[in-house]
């Protein structure tokens, strides 16, 4: 088997400093065999997209707990498209009210994981949906 490893960028957009979830997910993805790059805090959508292109990732996973998801998640999708990277699977997580999820999905976020999601569910979702 010489399957290409899935490459993931885990990113923290905006000013939110809560990175427990982002780091736990990053480690779970890495333990499942993916190559994971974590951006660290306070990334602008532009920085995230530029890191995604530079690292040639198949997946961008973003986490926000501050409530700024409605502004920042769609911005990342838009910039990825502008750069011709619409194949990248974009997922998000954090404290995200259920009623915001349809709008995020319509804006091109493929899946949104809310509090209480088991790690396996995120890993499996990515494995099943990534375009590798």
């Amino acid at each position: 088997m010489n399957e290409k490893r899935i490459r993931v960028l885990v990113a923290k957009p905006g000013l939110d400093g809560h990175d427990r979830g982002a780091k736990v997910i990053a480690q779970a993805l890495r333990d499942s065999g993916m190559e994971v790059v974590y951006t660290g805090l306070r990334q602008t959508p532009e920085q995230i997209v530029s890191a995604a292109l530079q690292e040639d990732v198949n997946v961008v996973g973003m986490s926000i707990l501050s409530g700024a998801h409605a502004t920042l998640f769609p911005e990342v999708v838009k910039l990825l498209k502008e750069q011709g990277a619409e194949d990248v699977l974009v997922v998000g997580g954090g404290i995200i009210p259920e009623e915001d999820i349809p709008e995020l999905k319509a804006a091109g976020i493929h899946e949104v994981f809310t509090p209480g999601t088991p790690l396996d569910k995120v890993v499996n979702y990515i494995k099943e949906n990534v375009k590798n």
Partner: protein
């Protein structure tokens, strides 16, 4: 505490009992493969005087209000006055938060606790590009003294005490608070309250840093010095384990890393030439109260004993007030679940009870809807009522430190203290907390990952999440932050910049730049600056220019 003869008798009896236990276990196997606390302290089936054979009452516990303060910082604790019931609040505009503050005071809350939005905490004005989407979200937006005047409108600052969760720009927000008070005719010497002002845990766990460690520590010692002269009743720092715990730390790590940060601040202030007994009585702490009920009680007791020894033995403080660890507690945000959210009321109540049995000076109880949104008026009221029930109905406040002498609680107190002391020694060996940030982050991350794996494998049961799940109705009436807050703040800023005396602002900013390059205390110039309606972003902009920004090391 016990005579050898007694211990020998108990030991002999216990051997026989252990055989019985093994036989029972064959018939009734134990529920879990291992019993341990969050700090991975092994929990025995029973505790006896044998576990406390080395305990010396005078040395290890003492009486309440006496060294080493294991039993509490005052002789009569809650028989005199209950803890300060202080709900953390703040969202949207200064007008909305002012309304919430006044509502809480009317409902019997006894102190204010202010949450600021992320741009305020990181020193950006609401119209900065990086503020996009964040204005008013996790706290109130404060751009200038004008917002602060609205925030405390009709709240008598000479009578309430106010805690402000502000770190990197703490001196500037304190300057604004002083300016508002003086406008109300309240002298700064009469003000009571706290600024969090704990930058090291921002680097470790919370993330709202601005400047690198060296200038940040200088701002902190400037505040210590200024307040010891001018605002003597102000708690100049709240050295915080809360966020370290929320990030995943265990109970022992929480107090170890917090006290290590405390040691770094005391070191810095002594190096800056301050007398330890002048500033140390105003140091305060902030801890988390998590779900392992008795380990949490033990943790608070262990923290008090450790700090007393550190201050007296390591720093040679002479004033008993320098030895006492006074702390605020908040129940564990991470323990709240989005599933069956009403169950969070019970979790919070037990956590609050731990804090009270641990001798907290003030307390915030989380609201049941906080895994979903900022708390509503209704949920925050239940959270406050939870504290009132503990204080007025349960009777636990009628005697001091009621769990003292429990074989288990005293053993756990020793166990948490030992583990914390080992961590403090390790951090000392690395050169102190500011040099051990990545070490602490790695430890916290490992503990967080372990906790999540335990939940996923059902080794750790969370009611409603991985067991006892059910179909449920969605919670209604969640609080929504008005999406126009950002636009309103931008409009207010535009107007402010057009109307204020801009020549004065420019000259103050130039003076600030010069002062920041020298080593005079920066507090007086912050006060001048805010009184001239210089914005928070403008002041922090100068500091960023002079000192540069902190660059995070990525650890996971």
């Amino acid at each position: 505490m016990f005579k050898q003869e007694q211990l020998d008798k108990i030991s002999a009896k216990k051997k026989g009992w252990e055989e019985k236990l093994e036989a029972t276990k064959k018939k009734r196997p134990e529920r879990k493969n291992k019993f341990e606390t969050h700090s991975a302290i092994k929990v025995e089936p029973v505790y006896t005087p044998l576990d406390l054979a080395d305990m010396d009452y005078e040395r290890d516990l003492g009486l309440p209000g006496e060294y080493p303060y294991t039993r509490g910082v005052q002789p009569n604790m809650y028989r005199g006055r209950l803890w300060t019931m202080r709900q953390y609040a703040g969202f949207g505009t200064a007008e909305e938060t002012n309304k919430r503050f006044r509502y809480l005071l009317e409902q019997g809350q006894t102190g204010l606790s202010c949450a600021f939005d992320l741009p305020t905490q990181i020193g950006y004005d609401s119209d900065h590009a990086l503020s996009k989407g964040e204005v008013g979200k996790v706290g109130v937006a404060i751009d200038s003294l004008q917002d602060m005047e609205i925030l405390f409108d009709q709240i008598p600052l000479g009578k309430v005490s106010t805690s402000m969760t502000i770190n990197a720009p703490a001196g500037i927000l304190l300057a604004m608070y002083i300016a508002v008070a003086e406008k109300q005719g309240v002298e700064r010497a009469k003000l009571n309250g706290t600024i969090q002002n704990d930058i090291i845990k921002e680097y470790i766990a919370r993330g709202t840093y601005i400047l690198p460690p060296e200038p940040s520590m200088r701002l902190i010692t400037d505040i210590f010095e200024f307040c010891s002269e001018e605002v003597p009743n102000w708690n100049t720092i709240s050295i915080s384990g809360y966020h370290i715990r929320e990030a995943g730390a265990t109970a022992a790590q929480e107090i170890a890393f917090t006290l290590a940060d405390g040691i770094a601040y005391v070191d810095a202030a002594i190096k800056a030439g301050l007398d330890v007994d002048k500033f140390a009585p105003r140091l305060s702490f902030f801890f988390n109260s998590h779900l392992n009920f008795l380990e949490e009680v033990a943790k608070f007791r262990a923290a008090r004993r450790l700090w007393a020894k550190i201050m007296r033995e390591r720093f040679g403080a002479k004033n008993p007030r320098s030895w006492t660890l006074r702390f605020h507690t908040q129940t564990a945000g991470v323990s709240l679940q989005a599933q069956q959210p009403m169950v969070n009321i019970m979790r919070t109540a037990y956590e609050a009870m731990s804090a009270v049995l641990g001798g907290t000076q003030s307390l915030h109880t989380n609201s049941y809807d906080e895994a979903l949104a900022l708390p509503s008026d209704e949920s925050v009221l239940i959270a406050l009522r939870t504290q009132q029930v503990i204080g007025y109905e349960t009777g636990v406040c009628d005697t001091v430190d009621p769990l003292a002498g429990s074989y288990y609680v005293e053993s756990l107190t020793n166990g948490v203290e030992e583990q914390a002391q080992e961590y403090i020694d390790k951090i000392d060996a690395l050169g102190g907390a500011p040099k051990a940030i990545e070490f602490m982050q790695k430890e916290i991350h490992n503990a967080a990952y372990k906790y999540q794996v335990e939940i996923d494998t059902q080794e750790r049961i969370v009611v409603g999440l991985n067991r006892f799940q059910m179909e449920e109705k969605k919670l209604e009436d969640l609080l929504k932050v008005d999406l126009t807050v950002g636009d309103n703040q931008e409009r207010k800023l535009k107007k402010l910049r057009a109307e204020r005396d801009n020549a004065k602002v420019e000259s103050i900013l130039a003076a600030l730049r010069e002062a920041a390059q020298g080593d005079a205390n920066l507090m007086p110039i912050f006060i001048d600056a805010v009184k001239a309606y210089t914005t928070l972003g403008e002041i922090c902009g100068v500091l960023r220019d002079v000192y540069g920004e902190y660059q995070q090391q990525i650890v996971f």
